[in-house]
Amino acid sequence: MTGQYIDLTAGQVAVAALLILVNAGISLALRLGMERRLLVAAVRTIAQLALIGLVLDRVFAVGRVEIVLFLMTVMVLVAGVAAVRRTERRYPGIWLNAVVSMWASSWLITAVALFGIVRVRPWYDPQYAIPLLGMVLGNTLNGISLGLDRLTQELEIRRDQVEAFLALGATRWEAAQDPVRRAVRTGMIPIINSMMVVGIVSIPGMMTGQILAGVAPLSAVEYQIVIMFLIASGTALGTVGVVLLGYRRLFNERHQFLVQRISKTE
């Protein structure tokens, strides 16, 4: 890195943590009854970040390929589960579908970045592999959960229409393509929106971090542009993947719509 930055002491971090008292004060003054949740949230923030910090510290120190791959696998699994947990309707196999599409899309795009764009040596250098995968996963997660939510919602709400098309001789694809299209579009909207306003309305967290760490703004911007396109393509692949897998789960080869497989979560 080119510049230098101020390394924070534990005391400085503790002062920042005291700012939670602002939230607590508001909650008390307005009787929002959120004190307990605020406390839990504050403790979780510190504990979770401290934990990942320790893990990353070890992984960076060791820098072995199998450890990096293991961590990357755990990240994918957690993201896949998180994507499904946000959905309102589910079907048997949805967890596998989400994890598979998350895995395939995020690893493919991260590989393209590591081997083809940034050209890291060795390719599994955790300084690059972990944050790049993390950025792709965070956004693909959104795309996948939105896509799944919309697909199952569309199919359930428009069930009569889908079945009417099947009854008139539509193949399963002809009957499902409108809901499938809507689902893919929905999954891709957030990333397209953020590409529209990036740098104007929002300064991305990663770029902010690099600048804080002393990187020249123009270099940080170069990285950010790369990241945006990685995220966009990863989200697109993940969303299309999961929607198509879901479609295959909900329509069988006999061109039958298995609506009874869709169930609402409580």
């Binding site: 229409q161 099947l166 009854a167 008139l168 001789g169 539509a170 061109h255 039958q256």
Partner: protein, 248 residues
């Protein structure tokens, strides 16, 4: 009984010992919606299926259209099971019409055109034919521009019916098409179906599901009663045996 030699030519559409059950809930026991039901429909025949709510009428009709996976038995088209890849082609020839007509947003004309874009449809949209059908119903071209959201229940059912018959099916599977309609709209639908059937009475066939015995008698040559997922009675307007070639 399956595969036994039969004394006559294969029926046009036949269900043999079909059964469908609901997937058992977490702790509940499985329940059969329909079990051991057989029905054979010949060309030129009109069959009505009657029974109380929950008797399995819709389940049977949907089974005949291959819309749901079966847990038992099979459905035959001209004596043969329908392979997976032929299912859309089969459904174009044996069209199931929902009780609630499901039309897409947009105009009547767009709805009529849509199924003609499916791979199994042959022939494009025929405005002259549509106009002729509308004239017979006492409606003009402005009906085609109407939005489906503005249609009455009877009008929507008419559009769903026209949408189906423009594909030239051989069999219509009608699931209580008049249940939600007033008397006048119901007779309009009955007349349309009669007209369609008698156009080529020897070739076409229809299965009409109803809870109304009077209507069943009016629309069909043979009535089958279902109760609790089983055949309760089979009766013809002519006593005994299959009634074939019943003209309008």
């Amino acid at each position: 009984m399956t595969g036994a030699p039969r004394g006559r030519a294969s029926a046009l559409l036949e269900a043999r010992d079909v059964g469908r059950r609901v997937a058992p809930a977490r702790s509940g026991k499985e329940r059969w919606l329909l079990r051991g039901v057989s029905i054979a429909v010949q060309s030129g025949e009109r069959v009505a299926i009657v029974g109380p709510t929950g008797a399995g009428k819709t389940v049977l009709l949907r089974a005949l259209a291959l819309l749901d996976p079966l847990d038992e038995g099979q459905v035959l088209w001209a004596g043969d099971p329908v392979p997976d890849e032929m299912v859309p082609r089969f459904r174009r020839q044996a069209i199931y019409l929902h009780q609630r007509p499901a039309l897409a947003e947009g105009s009547v004309e767009a709805n009529l055109r849509r199924p003609l874009g499916f791979g199994v449809a042959h022939g494009g949209y025929d405005p002259a034919r549509t106009r002729q059908a509308l004239t017979a119903l006492g409606r003009d071209d402005s009906f085609l521009a109407k939005l489906t959201a503005d249609l009455s229940g009877g009008e929507a059912q008419i559009v769903a019916f026209l949408r189906a018959i423009q594909l030239d099916p051989q069999v219509l599977l009608l699931d209580e098409p008049t249940a939600a309609l007033d008397g006048e709209a119901a007779s309009a639908i009955e007349r349309l179906v009669e007209g369609w059937f008698s156009e080529r009475a020897g070739e076409r066939a229809l299965v009409w599901v109803s809870h109304d015995h009077e209507q069943a008698r009016r629309m069909a040559g043979r009535v089958m009663g279902l109760s609790a997922g089983r055949v309760a009675h089979v009766g013809g307007l002519e006593p005994d045996g299959p009634v074939t070639g019943q003209g309008a």
